[in-house]
Structure formats: structure tokens, C-alpha cells
């Protein structure tokens, strides 16, 4: 499609690695694709930072899109500085910037040498996993704005959004879980070691002193496990009971409590050695399982709302015509704001000056930008794409058409959390069964030998702790999350896997979800164009800012522009001009041919005539994702498919071909409509999976049982959701869902195994004499075999995914 004038040797830009098309920019023997890349190189070279280019090949970020001067002016505002910096003393300020462009070792290197670019910067440290850089600078010598600009100059424009100031607390890395595991593991190992004499009855023979010394040491070692490491089981179990809900932690807390109580009693009374080794072992393994399950992908945020999409600063025009940068949250009704090219309109406003072409694809799902004329209202969230405009704010940010969606009740309660996982249900049956066994044993011994009641009951509760169940669940989930990450499906937490396995209906958004973002497919139908004709057409199309003309420009081969006379634009119809004595018309069929042809086929058409002679038309279509037809037809066998699009119905015909007549398709859906549609499906007892990408899907994603956001670049904004799926792996959707369905199978299998162990343990326990050595052997064996079984099975089921994987690279 694209015909690039390729030079004999394919040169790539020394800075960013893209093909060099026009060979204008070079320093010595180094070629650059654009002025921006060359400038960055000059700065890096001047600061003696050229190792940047030695570490990785062409590591730079493409600079074709220039960042507007003064974009960071709002960072001079004292209020904003106070909110963004997280530490300040007499000379220094600390700030953390999010730099989504960070991608290689060179990036780390240059970002940790920022002090060479701005001498006011004292230290900069990168966290590559989070793509963050912490900058410490002297604010007498430089400023927050200058630091941000320095980063921008070398190609790492910091991403600063409204969210950065509204949530003031910095997310702290949680260390307590690891400490708890460390302590439990340490005590477990030492208690086990000190119990060896007891296991092999070595101490019995001669030294009573040694035996008590060991027992008391064990008791001392078990205290931190019981009071610190196991505390979360007690807290969560107690919380559950107070809400009259028996969760899985309650029986575990009970088992730990009874084991500890009986052990303390035995040690203090000198009647035995207790089961402290088993207790600390159980706590240790369960904590590891929890940690494994909760270790989600930390760079992806699942709770973003419009605040992380909106910019932080906006230029306000004062009455005297001067511009001032203020924070978006301070915008008031009646303020006059200036929005530059590629910026987002932060509040509902009326267009006052300039030419507005607003790209709403992210907000409403409309695939083509919309032109607005003066006096029309521009809704918040749209992106201006044709130069600077001035607007007057009519609604505050929090009240705008778009942000009102977040006032919907779906965002207020977290109903997915309330839904009880099947593991909790099983654990409840397990607990009932356990209690009946304990009571039966108690009744039996009260008849035969009342002295054994106490021993038998406690032994039953110790041995048959439901920790095996918890272990199966946590390790299965943890391993599945890890495997799903490998296929670029990043789930928010483990319960998503379970919800996903119950899905029976899938609702798709159109723009950006089943079509590829920012791509369109253009074909030309008509007579063959000579290169001169195509030059004429390209010249005319280049005059207009209409999105369709822009597509035509990008479609035709690059040529020089010709002289244009009498250029006229007819809004809603087309354009005409005289170029090199040829009269050209371009636009709708009514405008060009004088008659309205029925548009049955998909896509928008642009008709062309030269000297009143019709030459043909361009068809501009959405570009659908590769492999869409296959995935849809295979999903169709298994699920109910729906389409919820905010766009117009021009593609309905084509979509009917793919999705078939059975699937319901709704077009021109507002965000609330999507949400309500999902709600109606759920009221009909459907379990809905919603797949979307934009802010307009945010409500539906939240309301659905599982909301998956498609993202072509995981650093990009994605609305609040349960999981993020990379667009590249969209075709794996069916297999990923089926993989999640294996979760229950795996958990049941390992549960059966643990029941077998429980039978063995109970066999000893009900007799009233559970030797500590038997407990000490059973416990680790059952735990470890369950861990092996779950991770083994979940990796085994991955085979099918492995075969289909289109993209072999790891993240």
C-alpha cells in the first residue's frame, strides 16, 4: 500500500532506529530520521552521554512528534509542585515521574545520568519494572518544570495526569508479607531441627533436661509464628464470623489455635512435645501460597478512571488576553481555555475560536474524528487534532458528560468481591464434615474411655485442617496467573480466573477492540490513476483537515505539492479546487456525481472527479484485527456474542458477515447504554464477559462479570477492568478462557489428594494417639505434593495455549 522511495541502502536513524526517508539530517556519519532525533543526539553528545548509543542499538525514542513549548508551564504552580513532590527540605525536592517510554538498558543509563544534563539535579534513580524515575534536585538551582523539560528534551516526556495529584498517597511496597514468611520459615526450620530427638525417641533414654530445654526453645520459637505470622488468619476469620460468614480462614485459625493450645499444655505439663513443628509448617506454606497468588503484575494499574487519562494542567486565557497554566481540577464554569494540537479537552466546553476536529474514538467509540464549528459544544475527553482552539468551559470537570458515568452505582459498590468463591463453599462443607467426625470420636470415647476424648478431638482438628484446600487454591491460582501473564493476559486478582470460567456471553466493543486503533484500510476503485493524477488528488486532499482527506493523503505515494487556486470547502459535502488548470472535486457522491448512490457496502467513500470527469472513489474502512473471523466463529460455537458499539452502523453489513445473524449488534451506544445492556443480560442470568478499550466501555467493563480491556500497548491508558489483554494476543481469547476453566478441575484434583491424606491422619487421630512424628511427616508431604500437583497440572494444561501462541516473545 505504502510506496516509500527507498534509498539504495536502507539506512536507519542512529537515534531511534526508524527508516530514514529523507536524508536531510546527519551529523558526521550518523543519519537521523528527523530534526527531533538529531537535536536529542546533539544534546546527548554535548553532555558526554554517548554511551547511551553503545549500550543498545538505536535506543532513542522517535521525535517526529514535537512536544509543544510551554507544555509544562503548570509545573511552576506552587500548589501543583507541593502535590507532585513527595519530599522537600530546605534545598531538595524529590519527585517520581512515570516514563512510559522506558524500554531498555540505555534508558536506565541515561536516566540515571540526568545530572549531566541539568546540574541542579543531584540524583536520579530508575525503577525499570514500574517505569518510574525518582529525581532528587536542588530547587534553588533548577525547578520541577525544568526537570520535566530536561526529560522531555531527551525524549522521555513524563506522563503527568490528574490522577497524580488527586491520590496523594504513594503506593508503598508491602514488605510485611515477606517478613511474615521469613519468620515463619525460620521458626519452622529450627523447630523441626530441635524436634528430631523427639521424633527418634533419642532423648527419652537418658537426659530429661535436654528434652525440656528443646521443648521450651520450640515454644519460644513458635511464639512469633503464632502471634505475628499467623495473625492475618485470625483477623480475617474473626471478621468473617462477625459478619456471620464462615470463610476459609476461620477453620484454619481454629486449627492453628487448637494445635498451639494443646502444644503449650503438653510442654508446660511435661506430658509431651506438642505439634509446634506442624503448626509453624502449615502457617509457612499457607503464607507462601497467599504470596504466590497475590503477586500480580505490578506495572499495570487496574483501577484507573478518567483522572489518569486527563491532563493535569491546562492554559486558561485571562480577561486581558494573557495565558496562565492552572490545574484542571481548578477549572471553573466560564473559564476560557486554550487547547493545543493533540491535547485532551478536560471539561465540557463551547468552541469559541479556531478549527476543532475532535477525536472521540476513546470516549465514544466513533472511529472518525468529528469536526465542530464555533458555538458547538465539545465534550470532555475528546482529543483535538487540528491546531489550537479556544473554548469556554460550561461544566466543571467532575460534572461533565463523560465523568458522570463514574457516578453510576456500578462504580460505588464492589459487588464482585461479595460473590463467594466456590472454594469457600467447599471449605464450609469440609468444616461441617470435620466437626461431625470430631463429635463422633468424642461420643465414641466418652462411652469407651473418657480420658481419651480431649486427645482425640484435638488431634482430629489438628490433622484435618483445611489448609490443604487453601494451598491447592492459592498455588493453582498463583501459577495460572503467572502463565496467563506469559500470554499477556494480566488479571487483577485470582477471583477473575474463577469468574472467567463461568462466562457464557461475550460482548465486544467495536472501535479499538475488534478494529485496530488508529488504523484504517483504504482501497481505490475506479480508473487507473497516472502518477500525475495521483499528485493532483494528493494536493487537493492535503488542503483539508478532514479525517477522510488525511487518510487519502497517507494512502497516495509521496509527491511534491502543486499550486492550488480557488480552494473551497463545503461542509458535509466535500472540497473543490483548481490545480494546474485542472478542476478537481472530492467528496460525497452527491457532491461529485450530483446523485446519491446507495451506500450499502461498509466504510466511508470519497468520490473524485478531475475536470468534471469521474475517476473513482476511495473506500476508507476500519481495519479489523488479524484473525478476527477465525476467533469469532470459534467463539460463536461456545458463547453468545454481542456487539456494543458507540460508532455508527456503517460497518453493520460487514460485521453481520463475520458474526452471523444470531449475534445481537447495537450501535450508537452511549456509555450508560452499554452498562445497562450488560445489566439486562445479567438479570437474565447471563454471565457476561465484556471486552472493550475506551473510557466509553468503562461502565460496561465494571458492570460485567469479567471486564477485559484490550490494549495494544500495555503502558497506554486502559480503563478500570478485571484484566488487561494485549491486542496482539486477541486471537488467543478462546483458549485463554478455556484455560481458566481448568482451574476448578485442578483444584478438585488436588483436593481429592488432600482428602486421602486426611483419611490417613484421621485414622490415627480418632484413636486418640497422634504421634507428633506422624503429624510432622504427613504435614510437609501433603503440602509439598499438593504444590507439585497443582503447579504441574496448571502447566500441563498450558500445552494447548503454547501451540497457538502467535507471539513468542516474553514481555
Amino acid at each position: 500500500m505504502k510506496v516509500k522511495e527507498k534509498s539504495e541502502v536502507n539506512t536507519i536513524c542512529y537515534h531511534c532506529g526508524e527508516d530514514v526517508v529523507e536524508r536531510h539530517y546527519h551529523i558526521e556519519d550518523k543519519e537521523f530520521c528527523c530534526k527531533g532525533c538529531q537535536t536529542v543526539y546533539e544534546i546527548i553528545n554535548k553532555s558526554d552521554l554517548c554511551s547511551y548509543y553503545d549500550l543498545e542499538h538505536s535506543p532513542g525514542i522517535n521525535q517526529k512528534q514535537e512536544v509543544r513549548k510551554g507544555k509544562f508551564d503548570f509545573l511552576d504552580d506552587a500548589q501543583i509542585i507541593k502535590k507532585l513532590t513527595h519530599f522537600q527540605d530546605n534545598t531538595h525536592q524529590h519527585v517520581i515521574f512515570y516514563l512510559p517510554q522506558m524500554h531498555c538498558a540505555s534508558c536506565i543509563w541515561i536516566l540515571e545520568h540526568l545530572d549531566k544534563i541539568d546540574s541542579g539535579i543531584i540524583k536520579s534513580q530508575v525503577n525499570f519494572v514500574k517505569k518510574e524515575v525518582t529525581v532528587i534536585y536542588n530547587y534553588h538551582e533548577t525547578s520541577l518544570k525544568k526537570v520535566a523539560e530536561a526529560l522531555t528534551i531527551i525524549g522521555y516526556e513524563p506522563h503527568i495526569s490528574l490522577n497524580d495529584v488527586s491520590s496523594s498517597k504513594v503506593k508503598k511496597y508491602d514488605t510485611t508479607t515477606i517478613v511474615k514468611i521469613g519468620i515463619a520459615g525460620f521458626c519452622f526450620g529450627n523447630i523441626m531441627m530441635l524436634s528430631f530427638p523427639e521424633y527418634f525417641s533419642l532423648a527419652k533414654s537418658d537426659d530429661i533436661g535436654l528434652k525440656t530445654w528443646f521443648s521450651y526453645l520450640n515454644l519460644a520459637l513458635s511464639l512469633p509464628v503464632f502471634f505475628y505470622s499467623a495473625s492475618e488468619f485470625f483477623i480475617s476469620g474473626y471478621k468473617g464470623l462477625r459478619q456471620k460468614f464462615l470463610n476459609i480462614d476461620a477453620p484454619i485459625a481454629l486449627a492453628v489455635l487448637i494445635t498451639f493450645g494443646r502444644s503449650v499444655y503438653e510442654i508446660l505439663s511435661g506430658t509431651g512435645a506438642g505439634y509446634l513443628d506442624s503448626m509453624s509448617g502449615i502457617v509457612f506454606f499457607m503464607l507462601i501460597g497467599r504470596y504466590f497468588q497475590n503477586r500480580t503484575y505490578q506495572t499495570i494499574s487496574f483501577d484507573r478512571d478518567f483522572k489518569s487519562y486527563f491532563p493535569l494542567g491546562v492554559s486558561v486565557i485571562n480577561a486581558d488576553g494573557t495565558e496562565k497554566q492552572i490545574s484542571v481540577s481548578e477549572l471553573k464554569v466560564g473559564d476560557r481555555i486554550k487547547i493545543h494540537n493533540d491535547e485532551i479537552v478536560p471539561a465540557d466546553a463551547i468552541l469559541f475560536l479556531g478549527k476543532a476536529t475532535i477525536d472521540y474514538s476513546f470516549v465514544t467509540g466513533e472511529s472518525l474524528p468529528v469536526e465542530k464549528s464555533i458555538g458547538e459544544i465539545v465534550y470532555a475527553g475528546g482529543k483535538q487534532t487540528s491546531g489550537a482552539i479556544e473554548l469556554e468551559v460550561v461544566k466543571e470537570v467532575s460534572q461533565s458528560y463523560l465523568t458522570q458515568l463514574w457516578n453510576n452505582e456500578a462504580f460505588k459498590e464492589n459487588k464482585k468481591e461479595v460473590k463467594v468463591s466456590f472454594i469457600h463453599r467447599i471449605s464450609r462443607y469440609f468444616t461441617y464434615a470435620l466437626f461431625s467426625v470430631a463429635i463422633t470420636a468424642a461420643i465414641y470415647w466418652s462411652v469407651n474411655d473418657p480420658s481419651k476424648i480431649w486427645g482425640a478431638v484435638t488431634a482430629v482438628l489438628i490433622v484435618a485442617c483445611p489448609c490443604a484446600l487453601l494451598l491447592s487454591a492459592t498455588f493453582t491460582n498463583g501459577n495460572m496467573i503467572r502463565i496467563l501473564n506469559k500470554y499477556k493476559l494480566y488479571v487483577k486478582n485470582a477471583s477473575v480466573i474463577e469468574h472467567m470460567s463461568e462466562i457464557d456471553t461475550i460482548a465486544f466493543d467495536k472501535t479499538g477492540t475488534i478494529t485496530e486503533q488508529g488504523k484504517s484500510e483504504i482501497t481505490f476503485k475506479g480508473m487507473e490513476l497516472s502518477s500525475y493524477q495521483s499528485q493532483l488528488i494528493r494536493t487537493l486532499a492535503n488542503q483539508s483537515n478532514h479525517p477522510l482527506s488525511k487518510s487519502v493523503v497517507s494512502f497516495l505515494p509521496f509527491t511534491k505539492m502543486l499550486n492550488v487556486k480557488n480552494y473551497k470547502e463545503f461542509k458535509g459535502f466535500g472540497t473543490s479546487a483548481t490545480i494546474n488548470e485542472h478542476f478537481l472535486k472530492m467528496g460525497s457522491s452527491e457532491f461529485v456525481l450530483g446523485k446519491d448512490s446507495h451506500q450499502l457496502a461498509s466504510g466511508s467513500r470519497v468520490y473524485m472527479s478531475i475536470d468534471e470527469e469521474f475517476v473513482g472513489y476511495f473506500i476508507v474502512k476500519n481495519a479489523y484485527r488479524e484473525g478476527l473471523e477465525n476467533i469469532v466463529s470459534s467463539l460463536g460455537n461456545q458463547f453468545d456474542l454481542k456487539i456494543l458499539s458507540g460508532d455508527n452502523s456503517s460497518e453493520e453489513g460487514y460485521l453481520k458477515n463475520i458474526f452471523g445473524n444470531k449475534s445481537k449488534m447495537l450501535f450508537e451506544q452511549k456509555p450508560e447504554d452499554k452498562l445497562n445492556f450488560i445489566k439486562r443480560l445479567q438479570n437474565n442470568n447471563k454471565r457476561v464477559l465484556m471486552i472493550g478499550d475506551g473510557l466509553n466501555d468503562a461502565g460496561a467493563l465494571k458492570q460485567s462479570d469479567v471486564g477485559i480491556a484490550i490494549s495494544d500497548d500495555t503502558n497506554n491508558f486502559s480503563p478500570a477492568c478485571d484484566a488487561v489483554l494485549s491486542g496482539k494476543n486477541f486471537t488467543l481469547l478462546k483458549e485463554l478462557i478455556n484455560y481458566c476453566r481448568r482451574q476448578k478441575t485442578i483444584i478438585f484434583a488436588s483436593f481429592v489428594l488432600s482428602i486421602l491424606y486426611n483419611f490417613v491422619g484421621l485414622f490415627f487421630a480418632v484413636q486418640g494417639d497422634l504421634e507428633p512424628v506422624i503429624a510432622a511427616i504427613l504435614m510437609p508431604i501433603s503440602s509439598i505434593s499438593i504444590v507439585l500437583l497443582t503447579t504441574g497440572l496448571s502447566s500441563f494444561y498450558e500445552i494447548k495455549l503454547k501451540r497457538l501462541r502467535p507471539d513468542k516473545s516474553h514481555y
Binding site: 536506565i108 530508575v126 519494572v129 521469613g182 528443646f214
Partner: protein
């Protein structure tokens, strides 16, 4: 046999020392970012090289 009392106590104290070291390393966020330090470690060499180049350049200039 009394030696074992002392030895066990001593070994426990030693082990507790390691536990404290572990807790300290966790608390000082050494496990927060497990990727960047592995890359950063390799930079020291390049900085030295670069300094050498710098001095080379300077000498060239003075010539």
C-alpha cells in the same frame, strides 16, 4: 552433654542474626525492584570508559 545446651543456644543466636539481616534487607526495600540493579551493576565500567574517552577528547582538543 552440657556443651550441647550452649552450642544449640549459640547456633540459634547465629541463625537469629541472619533472620534479622533478612528482615533488614526486606524493610530497606531491596526486593522492591529486582530488575534495575542487575542492569545498573554493569554500568560502572562504561562510565569509566566514557571518562577515558572524555580525557582523550580533551587531549585531542588541546593538541
Amino acid at each position: 552433654m552440657s556443651a550441647i545446651f550452649i552450642m544449640i543456644g549459640a547456633s540459634l543466636l547465629l541463625a537469629i542474626g541472619f533472620l534479622i539481616a533478612f528482615i533488614w534487607s526486606v524493610r530497606s526495600n531491596q526486593y522492591e525492584d529486582d530488575y534495575t540493579p542487575s542492569v545498573r551493576m554493569l554500568f560502572d565500567n562504561t562510565t569509566i570508559q566514557e571518562k577515558k574517552q572524555e580525557t582523550n577528547n580533551k587531549t585531542k582538543k588541546t593538541k
